[in-house]
């Protein structure tokens, strides 16, 4: 036993130029950002206004920034895989040896699901839900900050694995026995498990927070059937987080016990049962799909209604469909392994339940269609993403129903057909929605709109690139190509894989357009400024306050007497042809006090996770003690709110009138 456990210099892959090059670029990027921040004297500002902030809007923005940065990392992994598979055909071995390639596809999946898709939807919910509910913050603001920073800890640990040690070589779901110590003795699986355990706690707390917020902190008058649809989808998504993530936590705890203490949950010997892992993994894993997809459906609903100038068609149907998906998502997990050899009746049952989920999803597509029908559709960037989603997603759904047929699934499971399918639903279903939401709510968050032209260019690159990248995989899948293949001897697949590679490059062009879009928008922010707080002629309460909203969101809690409360208000004003003149007595508002507890806890979580991965027990003890001490200090603090005086509220409110054009 040494002081540093299993850690020594051999953990750093100095002999691998690709890894070291990436690490070098990342280090340079981090150092230059940090030194820029320090030299410009932004450290204090960042600490006071962002890092310790418990404001749901700031936390939401930080989630999305984190997700977008990780999107670059995940995409880099993706394009590396495409390149490897494109060139390693026939006798060629490509440029990535198996032990490296295996880490890349595992990291790609893990990062894209947990550190891109999850933070994107959680970030959007953070920013939007309290504003739409007419609330001043979430139920537990400090816990919200802890959730975010624990997610960031998971991100940090995953990325550390690039420079120190290795990542899992098991695929992103780490099936045992492959992920057991016997077959994966390295630290890769431990990195995977501890990063996801730590960020998983964050996600769970987030779920608790938002369920409570949505059910208990709505503006007066906002009954359940008056909630905006995005809030309904957020409620469904967070209920799923609360009910699904603990399964993952328990499951990973079991695998950790196997790996660290010699337990036998999933081992090959002593009665362990690896298929139990597979079952429990997908008991979490399928609801997880809807955790991601449902909020995106909510975004599409908001975008479709706003830019059609109509209320959402069939609101009650949409709510029913959302909650139906929420419940049904627990009845389908076995379709991820029809090839396990379950009996025909079990396969048939899960096949049919999987298809039944298609019913409420289909209803949603029809309702978006009828929302546009009779509307005045403005083809803004969010609308492009929405329509792009609709026409793409239905085909992803089609291949999904094919995979839900056990007899077809046996032929295409584990193939790149499957890879094409889940990218076909998750990219339009989650990523398009998140980008639509990002373009839609950006002016609310920062007070200026994003550039339309670059936004549209990004959409077309993504849309075309997506089809080029994934349609060929359906073909090679049907030709019998399994997923996760480091090289192949079948030359017939290669032309298709090269087309897919071109598609990935076109998507990359889309990403570049998005980066340019941000830069251009910041430079032209004065032209793009939103002074009204309502740049899109919106319908829901978030547009009834200033852009960006003050820390307290609403000077006076809005009263709601129907769906689309803000729209209804504007209609009344238009009908009366005069602006309301009634004055209101402003009261002082208590807002939660900023707290470093999230950041400090997360720091200790990283220390603990890193120590456990490398078996540095003293350091793990130190990390746990530190985290406990931080939480104790938080428990004993005396003041957790600051009061904003009524004058300040009034001053801000008068300076930021929400204009209704007459």
């Amino acid at each position: 036993m040494t002081l540093l456990g299993k850690l020594d210099w051999s953990a750093v892959p100095f002999d691998q130029p690709i890894v070291m090059g990436t690490v070098g670029v990342m280090v340079v990027a981090i150092v230059s950002v940090l030194s820029w921040v320090t030299l410009r004297g932004y450290v204090r500002y960042l600490w006071r206004e962002w890092i310790t902030s418990v404001d749901h809007k700031r936390i939401g923005v930080m989630y999305i920034v984190l997700a977008l940065v990780m999107l670059l990392r995940g995409f880099a992994d993706g394009i590396m895989m495409r390149t490897q598979q494109g060139i390693a055909a026939g006798g060629a071995q490509g440029y990535l040896p198996p032990e490296h390639f295996d880490q890349i596809f595992s990291a790609h999946g893990t990062i894209m699901i947990f550190f891109v898709a999850m933070p994107l939807v959680i970030g959007l919910m953070n920013f939007v839900v309290p504003l739409q509910l007419g609330a001043r913050d979430v139920a537990f603001p400090t816990m919200n900050s802890i959730s975010f920073w624990l997610t960031a800890s998971g991100v940090l640990l995953t990325n550390l694995s690039l420079a120190i040690g290795e990542f899992a070589k098991t695929g992103w779901f780490a099936y045992p026995p492959l992920s057991e110590l016997q077959f994966s003795p390295g630290v890769g699986v431990d990195y995977y498990l501890w990063s996801l355990q730590i960020s998983g706690v964050g996600t769970l707390l987030s779920g608790v927070n938002f369920v409570t917020t949505i059910l208990k902190i709505r503006a007066p008058g906002m009954s359940y059937m008056r909630m905006p649809v995005f809030c309904w989808t957020a409620l469904a998504s967070n209920l799923l987080m609360v009910a699904a993530f603990p399964v993952l936590t328990a499951l990973f705890a079991m695998l950790l016990l196997d790996r660290y203490l010699g337990f036998h949950f999933f081992t090959v010997d002593a009665g362990g049962n690896a298929m139990m892992y597979v079952n429990l993994f997908w008991v979490w894993g399928h609801p997880e799909v809807y955790i991601l997809v449902l909020p995106a459906f909510g975004v599409y609903s908001e975008v479709a209604a706003t830019f059609s100038g109509k209320s959402l068609f069939g609101y009650r149907s949409m709510v029913l469909a959302t909650m139906a998906i929420c419940v049904l998502s627990y009845t389908v997990w076995l379709h991820h392994f029809f090839t396990m050899g379950a009996s025909a009746s079990v396969n048939a049952f899960f096949g049919i339940t999987s298809m039944i989920i298609g019913v409420p999803t289909g209803v949603k597509v029809f309702n978006w269609l009828f929302t546009m029908y009779g509307g005045r559709v403005r083809f803004t960037v969010p609308v492009l993403w929405t329509i792009g989603f609709m026409v793409t997603f239905v085909f992803g759904g089609l291949t999904g129903v094919l995979l839900a047929l056990p007899a077809v699934d046996w032929q295409v499971h584990n193939s790149v057909f499957l890879v094409a399918h889940f990218h076909h639903v998750i990219i339009p279903g989650v990523l398009f929605g998140a980008i639509a939401g990002y373009n839609y709510w950006f002016p609310k968050a920062f007070g200026f709109k994003l550039d339309e032209r670059w936004g549209k260019a990004a959409f077309w690159c993504w849309f075309i690139g997506f089809h080029l990248a994934f349609m060929p995989l359906y073909v090679t899948g049907l030709m019998g190509m399994p997923r996760r293949l480091q090289h192949s001897d079948v030359l017939a697949w290669q032309p298709w894989l090269l087309v897919a590679e071109v598609g990935a490059i076109v998507i990359f062009a889309g990403i570049i357009c998005q980066i340019v879009q941000i830069v251009v928008s910041i430079r032209h922010r004065e032209q793009l400024r939103d002074t009204t707080g309502d740049p899109w002629n919106g319908r829901t309460l978030e547009w009834s306050t200033a852009s960006p909203p003050p820390a307290w969101n609403f000077a006076v809690l809005p009263r709601v007497d129907g769906l689309d409360a803000f729209w209804a208000h504007k209609q009344r004003v238009l009908a009366k042809q005069e602006l309301p003149v009634q004055q209101h007595a402003y009261r002082s508002i208590e807002v939660p006090k900023n707290s470093p507890v999230g950041f400090v806890t997360a720091f200790f979580a990283v220390v603990t996770g890193f120590a456990l991965i490398w078996h540095i027990w003293w350091m793990a003890g130190f990390g746990v003690l530190g985290a406990v001490a931080t939480l104790l200090a938080f428990m004993f603090r005396t003041k957790d709110e600051v009061e904003i005086p009524a004058d300040e509220v009034a001053l801000f409110d008068r300076a930021h009138p929400v204009e209704v054009s007459l």
């Binding site: 208990k216 007066p220 603990p246 337990f263 949950f265 362990g272 809005p558 208000h569 009138p657």
Partner: protein
């Protein structure tokens, strides 16, 4: 002119529906949030139960539940934990009427009963390990120690929490924030009972079925 100002005037009538009443008070929010957290905790236990149910017979030639479980010991553990829930309930009553002495007394009794439960459980574990029935021996024992041990860990956390709450109570008195936390604690303690009843049934009673 803030739009909310005007909206405020839209409706002066009585709010009939509870769902339209506006933001709930902090006490309700904290308790409700903790309920949701407890639900998630119960989901976590249900995954551990599922694991145990799958592996309950996988003793891999080692000792089985029927050979290991001592019903008398388990009955005593159950009695202790249920009694501690009762004393926790008494403590809640004392808190509601803001009586310091009764609250501390309730806490001390709850703590002692909980600690006795833990001692018995650890003693049981020790006895099993002495017989060679360690968690490394078989999948059944892995699942057993994980499930029952997780509950024990929760009890330990509960005891530490109780001590902290008594410290806070003596420092701050019956402040709102202390009351909210005490309320959450009692929810937590009762939830552990529910889980224990399930463990008692699924592990110890069904474990000795022929």
């Amino acid at each position: 002119m803030n739009v909310a100002v005007e909206m405020d005037a839209v409706r002066h009538g009585e709010l009939l529906d509870i769902s339209e009443a506006g933001p709930a008070p902090k006490r309700i929010i904290a308790g409700f949030g903790f309920w949701i957290f407890l639900l998630s905790d119960i989901v976590m236990f249900s995954a551990l139960f599922a694991g145990y149910a799958v592996l309950a017979k996988a003793s891999a030639g080692g000792l089985t539940g029927a050979q290991l479980f001592d019903q008398r010991n388990v009955a005593m553990e159950t009695a202790l934990l249920l009694l501690s829930s009762y004393s926790c309930g008494m403590m809640s009553l004392a808190i509601n009427s803001q009586r310091y002495l009764a609250t501390f007394l309730g806490a001390v009794v709850t703590f002692l009963l909980g600690a006795a439960f833990l001692a018995l459980e650890l003693n049981e574990f020790q006895g099993m390990i002495a017989l060679g029935a360690t968690p490394e021996r078989s999948a059944f024992l892995s699942a057993f120690f994980t499930l029952v041990g997780s509950h024990g860990l929760h009890v330990t956390v509960g005891l530490a929490w109780l001590v902290l709450m008594m410290v806070q109570l003596s420092l701050r008195g019956f402040q709102d924030v202390v009351l909210r936390r005490l309320h959450c604690f009692s929810l937590f303690w009762h939830a552990l009972d529910i889980i224990w009843v399930l463990i008692f049934t699924v592990v110890y009673l069904m474990g000795v079925l022929p």
